[in-house]
Amino acid sequence: MGIGTYIIVSLVKIVVALVVLLTAVAYIVLLERKLVGRIQNRWGPTRVGPFGLLQPLADGAKFLLKEDLTPPYVYKPLYLAAPMIALVFALTSIAVIPIGNWVSVGPVNTPLQITDLNVGLLILLGITSMGVYGVALAGWSSNSKYSLLGSLRASAQMVSYEVSLGLALIGVLILAGSFSLRDIVDSQAGTWWRWLPKWNLFKGQFVAFFIYLTAAYAETNRVPFDLPEAETELVAGYHTEYSAMKFAMFFMAEYANMVTVACLASLLFLGGWHGPVFGPNWLREVLPIFWFVVRVFFFIFLYIWVRGTLPRFRYDQLMAFGWKVLLPLAIANLVITAVVVALRS
């Protein structure tokens, strides 16, 4: 493939990925409102469009037309830049996430991934680390006590749970032997005894799966770890002073992070896109994508289900849990996995 074709194919993939991700974010907001509504025995939005399906359109119009207020005593450069930083890092992580096998469209043979780096998993951890800046700078530059406290709590929480997140993933790395996400998924192909799929979840990373999910809920500031954004605690935490489009950017960044976490969980623990493949050729190429989307949808559903069900942790309980429970568990998981793999080889 010449350099020109490569650039055009990459641009097409980037545009498609961004459009799909942003539409998914908009509809996940609607899904959350409907699901939490049903959990609370009420309908969610039902008036805009059939079953409320055009609600994201109404939300988008609202955000665009709302008055964009900049309070007088904020530190303007960072106040304007923080939502952009948060959104940019949230959207960048889609670049290394694969959603299927190689496809050939006409003469072009390309993987369903924007770029297959051989340190892909580390890049995702790096982007997670950089995501702390959007929160920290937003709260500080807003020059308000609720924002500062909320952002400090949120950043401390994110930094603490990043450690357990990374350690939980090392077990998966030891089993797969590579940082590349495509290689990790490919090591989960096939089944035992024709029915039990060879997912990392069943290869002994059961505890690591739950550590990863818990740490990821804390990283994305979602219930039960959403104290930094809880309305009853801190007005609205680090995005108190933001209105209209800037607030929408924080919102989009949070849900895009949720999508990234769901994609990673399905890639690393649930076998990615492997599933029964049958039928004619075009169906064989589309079915892996379908299986991947089913898994991602399951994790998003789990996020929303947990949000509607659990109460939130108090901040000191949250930090104690992260350092005194999750971290030792993650280290124990790492040691046991390493010992088992070393003894087996």
Partner: protein, 187 residues
């Protein structure tokens, strides 16, 4: 060609960020410029082929150390620096000295017969290779570094602990006895 362009872009970002770090008045802008410098350095490492080091640079330096710097600047409320009028020492010794050192470095680099450029991808940096090195040749320095960090953590815990745990105060009865003993000795 593309690689030369990328090298120049990352190099310009590095130098621009470093100059901006010195030129900014508010410390938080300086800290953000430092983050840009570290990101550009990670790009340079990538061009050399050391992908693991590049990503670790982003994760640790730009993602953890600089977050710490920014917390400190935020919490200590370090305000805008005041501008002094410059010092005579800087004009007489500093700038000529800097030019002299720069010329010396350029001369030493230029007369190196082996050429001064490193080929693209020269540093063999896959995680597997680095892991082997860390756990075979460099195992002792690796473990000693972790003890060093442990010492730093213990120091931070001690410094942050409340005063009455560091300097234990005597009980009220002991204190009356000590005062009485002091009186008897003095009287």
């Amino acid at each position: 060609m593309l690689h030369l362009l990328l090298f120049l872009v990352f190099g310009a970002l590095c130098i621009g960020g470093a100059i901006n770090l010195l030129a900014q008045k508010h410390p938080i802008s300086s800290a953000l410029s430092l983050i840009v410098v570290m990101g550009a350095l990670a790009g340079e490492y990538l061009l050399l082929g050391a992908e693991f080091v590049a990503v670790i640079q982003v994760i640790i330096y730009a993602g953890a150390v600089m977050v710490l710097f920014i917390f400190v600047i935020m919490l200590l409320n370090a305000g805008v620096e005041e501008h002094t009028r410059g010092s005579r020492v800087a004009w007489l010794l500093g700038i000529p000295g800097m030019i002299a050192v720069g010329l010396m470095v350029a001369w030493v680099l230029a007369r190196n017969p082996a050429g001064i450029s490193v080929p693209l991808g020269a540093l063999y940096g896959s995680p597997k290779v680095i892991g082997r090195l860390l756990f075979r040749e460099f195992l002792l320095p690796f473990e000693v570094t972790s003890i060093l960090i442990l010492i730093a953590i213990m120091g931070a815990v001690v410094l942050a602990s409340p005063e009455h745990r560091r300097f234990p105060q005597p009980e009220p009865e002991e204190e009356r006895e000590l005062v009485a003993a002091g009186d008897r000795r003095g009287a």
